[in-house]
C-alpha cells in the first residue's frame, strides 16, 4: 500500500468561468493508496478541481497525469481515463430508469464490453461491498439518500478505477445517512483505494485522510497531515474555518 508510487499528478491547473477565476494554479501529487481530503469554504473551486481531473470540466491551463499518461489533451482517449478515474457526486446522479444493479452493470456492459452475466456477477459483488446487495432490484427513487450514494459508490468501483473522486458525497445527507456513507468510504480507504474527497466532514477528514488540503480562493492555501492540522500553527486559516463550524455546532 505504502509503495510511494505516484498515481496522479495535477500540475498548475487554471480555470475561469467568464471573468471569475475559479482555480488559480493548483498542483499536487497523489500516491497510490492515499486518501486526500479537500476542505474549505464553498465556492473556492474544490468541486471544479475534481471535475478538471477527469475533464468533465476542461481546464484552461495545466495538466493532469494518471501514472505516466497525460489525461489532459488525450482527445477521444479521455473515455479510457474516465473509466480509470471514478467519480461520486453530491446528488448521486444514479440513472433514474435503472434498478440499482443495472446502474452498476450498465457501464461494464456498454463501455467495457463485458458479457451481461459476468457484469451482473461483478455488479452484485460491488453492491455487496457497500452493503446494498438486498436492494439490487430497487429503483433509485425507492432508495434513501445514503443507499443511493452507496449504490453510486458501487457503480464507480465496478470499473476498477485507480482513483475515485468524491465530490461532497455526504452534503445532501442527514447525519445518520452521512455516517453510513462515510463508513463505506472509510472501508475503501483502509482497503487501499486511492481517493480524493471534497468534504465538510472534519471528523472523516481527520480520521481517514493521509493529507488534508485547505483550499480558498482557487488555491491550496494550507496542507498537511491531520496531526499537523490539529497541532501545528501552519493551519491557521483552516483552523479559523473549522472553528466557525464548531461555534455553530456548539461543540
Amino acid at each position: 500500500m505504502e509503495n510511494n508510487e505516484t498515481i496522479l499528478k495535477v500540475k498548475n491547473i487554471h480555470k475561469s468561468f467568464g471573468d471569475l477565476e475559479v482555480l488559480k494554479g493548483v498542483s499536487f501529487e497523489v500516491k497510490k493508496g492515499e486518501t486526500i481530503c479537500f476542505i474549505g469554504p464553498s465556492g473556492t473551486g474544490k468541486s471544479t478541481l475534481l471535475r478538471c481531473i477527469n475533464l468533465l470540466t476542461q481546464p484552461d491551463q495545466g495538466s493532469v497525469w494518471l501514472g505516466d499518461a497525460e489525461v489532459t489533451n488525450s482527445g477521444k482517449n479521455i473515455n479510457h481515463f474516465r473509466q480509470k478515474i471514478g467519480m461520486v457526486f453530491q446528488n448521486f446522479f444514479l440513472f433514474d430508469h435503472l434498478t440499482a444493479i443495472r446502474n452498476v452493470e450498465i457501464a461494464l456492459i456498454k463501455v467495457r464490453g463485458m458479457k451481461p452475466k459476468e457484469a451482473r456477477e461483478k455488479a452484485l459483488e460491488e453492491l455487496r461491498q457497500v452493503g446494498m446487495e438486498e436492494w439490487a432490484e430497487h429503483y433509485p427513487a425507492e432508495l434513501s439518500g445514503g443507499q443511493a450514494q452507496r449504490v453510486s459508490i458501487a457503480r464507480a468501483l465496478a470499473m476498477d478505477p485507480d482513483v475515485i473522486l468524491f465530490d461532497e458525497p455526504t452534503s445532501a445527507l442527514d447525519p445518520e445517512l452521512t455516517r453510513e456513507v462515510l463508513e463505506v468510504m472509510k472501508k475503501l480507504a483502509l482497503a487501499g483505494m486511492t481517493m480524493l474527497v471534497v468534504t465538510h466532514e472534519m471528523g472523516f477528514a481527520c480520521s481517514v485522510a493521509n493529507r488534508i488540503m485547505f483550499m480558498e480562493h482557487g488555491e491550496i492555501k494550507e496542507q498537511g497531515s491531520p496531526e499537523e492540522l490539529m497541532s501545528d500553527t501552519k493551519f491557521e486559516r483552516c483552523k479559523n474555518f473549522i472553528g466557525q463550524f464548531d461555534q455553530i455546532n456548539g461543540d
Partner: protein, 230 residues
C-alpha cells in the same frame, strides 16, 4: 332494401376494406415516424450546429405548412422532377414526415426535462456522449414522451383520412363512395366515425398498458393511475 341489408351487405364490407387500408397506413407510418422523431430530436439537441439547424428548419417547415399541401406536392408535384410515387406511398411519405416532425418535438421536450447529472454521470463512467444519449438519456426521454407520442399517434389515425385526397380508398374514402352512391350521408359517416373511435379507443388502452409496463418508480405514475380509474 331495408336498413339491415344495406348495413351488413353493402356498407360494412366496403368499410372493412377501407379500414384495412387505414390500418396499413398507420402501421407503416408509426414505426418510421418514431425513428425519424428520435433521430431529429437527437440531432437537434446533440448534433453539431449545421445538423441541429437542419433538423430545426425541417421541423419548422413541416409544422408550418398544411399536411394536405405536402401530400399534394409529393403526389402531384414530384412527377414533374421525375419522381413518381403511387398514391399510397406518397401518403406514407407525407405521414411519416409529419408524424416524425411532431414526434421529434415531444421527444426533444422530454430530453430537455432530464437533469444534466444523468449525462455527466454517464460520461464520468467512460461513456461517449452518444453512448450516454443512447443508453441513459433516450430511454428516459422516451418514457416521458409517451403521453405526447400517443397523442400524435391518435392524430395520425385521424389525418390518415387525408390519403383519400390522393385517391387512396381508406376508411373515409370508402365511406364517401358508398354515401354518394346510395345518398346516405349521415348514417354512413356516423359509422365511419365509429370506426375511427374504435381505433382511437384501442390505442388509448394500449398506451395505458404500455405506460404501466414501462413505468419506473419515481419517473412516471400517470399510467398506473389512469388504468385504475378505468
Amino acid at each position: 332494401m331495408d336498413q339491415a341489408e344495406f348495413l351488413f351487405q353493402i356498407l360494412l364490407p366496403v368499410l372493412m376494406e377501407g379500414m384495412i387500408v387505414t390500418i396499413k397506413l398507420i402501421v407503416f407510418t408509426a414505426p418510421f415516424g418514431l425513428i425519424l422523431g428520435i433521430l431529429v430530436a437527437v440531432g437537434r439537441v446533440y448534433g453539431s450546429k449545421p445538423i441541429s439547424l437542419l433538423c430545426k428548419g425541417a421541423v419548422g417547415f413541416i409544422k408550418g405548412t398544411p399536411l394536405l399541401l405536402m401530400l399534394f406536392i409529393l403526389y402531384f408535384g414530384l412527377p414533374s422532377i421525375g419522381i413518381t410515387l403511387s398514391a399510397f406511398v406518397a401518403s406514407l411519405v407525407g405521414f411519416i414526415m409529419c408524424n416524425g416532425a411532431y414526434n421529434s418535438e415531444y421527444i426533444r421536450g422530454a430530453i430537455s426535462s432530464i437533469k444534466e447529472g444523468q449525462i455527466i454521470a454517464a460520461q464520468a463512467l467512460g461513456m461517449t456522449r452518444m453512448q450516454a444519449v443512447r443508453h441513459i438519456i433516450l430511454p428516459q426521454a422516451l418514457i416521458r414522451a409517451i403521453p405526447g407520442l400517443s397523442n400524435e399517434f391518435i392524430y395520425l389515425i385521424k389525418y390518415s383520412s387525408l390519403a383519400y385526397m390522393l385517391t387512396v380508398i381508406e376508411l373515409t374514402g370508402a365511406g364517401k363512395m358508398v354515401a354518394t352512391k346510395y345518398f346516405e350521408f349521415t348514417e354512413v359517416f356516423m359509422i365511419v366515425g365509429i370506426g375511427y373511435l374504435i381505433l382511437v379507443t384501442i390505442t388509448t388502452i394500449a398506451v395505458m398498458l404500455i405506460e404501466r409496463k414501462v413505468a419506473v418508480p419515481g419517473m412516471t405514475q400517470s399510467g398506473r393511475n389512469m388504468l385504475d380509474i378505468l
